[in-house]
Symmetry: C2
Subunit: 239 residues, 2 copies
DNA sequence: GCCCCAGTTTAGTATAGTCTAACTTCGCCC
DNA sequence: GGGCGAAGTTAGACTATACTAAACTGGGGC
């Protein structure tokens, strides 16, 4: 009797899927996801997170170190990547095939990702030619659950002419964070490197799509981790 | 202060949407939907239905006559038709644009219909050219909530050559119902009228796609209510 | 015209998720 | 090195939905 692996995949609930995705994002850059960060990102109260964390670690999807935070297990990571694949394929499909724009696409994908079957996602991916990146330039995990490493470059090292997406601001310092925010340099913004002074001089960049220029000194530029954008191959979608 | 219509649309839950759709189908042909029929169709226990019925009638979506059954209010009917529109547009889109076949499309649409936005459905409908019928030949309600009357013809009155979908077997008589079932004449089957003998004689038909022939006398033929199929305009999808 | 059974409703319990309020723990600061 | 504030957890309650078991109702058969 192989009842051992009986309920190996009790289908995850919508809520569980959201938690796993959130934990994946929070812990991808650094070990643990904190309760309060999860709560903030999902817009629920911290005790709700504690409760869910208990259930998820009982079912082996995450590992919980009390007062430290949580991490995904291999199983949890697989489930999270499946959701991320769904989300990114959906966003790309909605934009390319149904005329969605940046405004509406995220919310729509956010709801659909819990309802689609793997088959539908694969059909969409096939229809799109097995794309590797979503409309934001983020890599799409494969159906087998592999995802390209983000390979972040600091702005200080990016070559002049590169088109980048700012992905991470590598400091906890409030004053610097605030300064970056004032400059419009927050994760997600697109920019092009237009110039760099020699001898460790400052980098000049222009924000996309506004075209605004910024000059960033080397020390600060090293904190801005970016992903080089894939060659623009898709249509005239905004940006 | 117009707080009167404050929570006019507390978004319906997935479960509520399923109940409304089921009640619509069960009560469309005849006044009341019975508790046990709803339970059977949703695969839940009858007491679960009683509980939901109480809540739904409190919120004004249905009307409940104890021990008789339930009917949709105008508001409930509107919500049900919205779900039916979603379901039918989804089925058509999945088959025409993503290569789904009859096997998988229903289940997929059944899940997606609770997650899609009205905008997405409208975009799909636009992409399909504002279709009027789903792949089963059922009419698609408009975005405004209007649905074509089914306009059923009895098999006895259908013209020779017509292609029909059997929609309703208009008798409660068990013996007749059993006989029809044995003949493969159950709601949903497709058939073509091939011949009719004069002077109120029997009608000959062939089942689609098997091609099997049946001869049905006038009295019985009058009980078989059918919908004339719209002209086949879509591709070579199985059937 | 009474009775009985199928169908319906009530009662009570469970589960997954949420919340607020109250308590605990951690680690930083002086 | 002791205290204090922030972060985390526990406790307890609520909602939506489901279930089983038990009680009720109403119309058809004799």
């Amino acid at each position: 009797m192989h009842a051992t692996l009986r309920d190996a995949n009790p289908p995850l609930t919508r809520s569980v899927e959201d938690y796993l995705k959130t934990i994946y994002h929070l812990s991808s850059q650094g070990g643990f996801a904190a309760t309060s960060d999860i709560a903030a990102m999902l817009d629920v109260a911290p005790p709700s997170v504690s409760g869910m964390v208990k259930r998820l670690s009982e079912t082996g999807l995450i590992e919980h170190v009390p007062y430290r935070g949580v991490q995904l297990t291999a199983q949890g990571r697989r489930a999270a990547l499946r959701m991320i694949r769904r989300h990114r394929v959906l966003e790309l499909y909605l934009m390319q095939r149904l005329g969605y724009d940046w405004g509406g696409v995220h919310a729509e994908a956010e709801r659909l990702e819990h309802a689609v079957s793997d088959e539908l996602i694969d059909r969409m991916a096939t229809s799109l030619g097995q794309p590797q990146y979503d409309p934001h330039g983020d890599p799409i995990p494969t159906a087998a659950g592999e995802i390209e490493d983000a390979e972040l470059v600091s702005l200080a090292d990016a070559r002049v002419g590169a088109k980048l997406e700012l992905r991470q601001v590598a400091t906890q310092d409030t004053a610097r964070l605030r300064y970056f925010a004032e400059q419009g340099l927050t994760p997600g913004v697109l920019l092009a490197v237009t110039e760099r002074q020699p001898f460790n001089g400052p980098t000049t960049l222009s924000l996309v799509p506004s075209g605004d220029r910024r000059v960033v000194g080397r020390d600060l530029a090293r904190l801005l981790l970016c992903r080089e954008m894939p060659v623009e191959a898709h249509g005239p979608t905004a940006r």
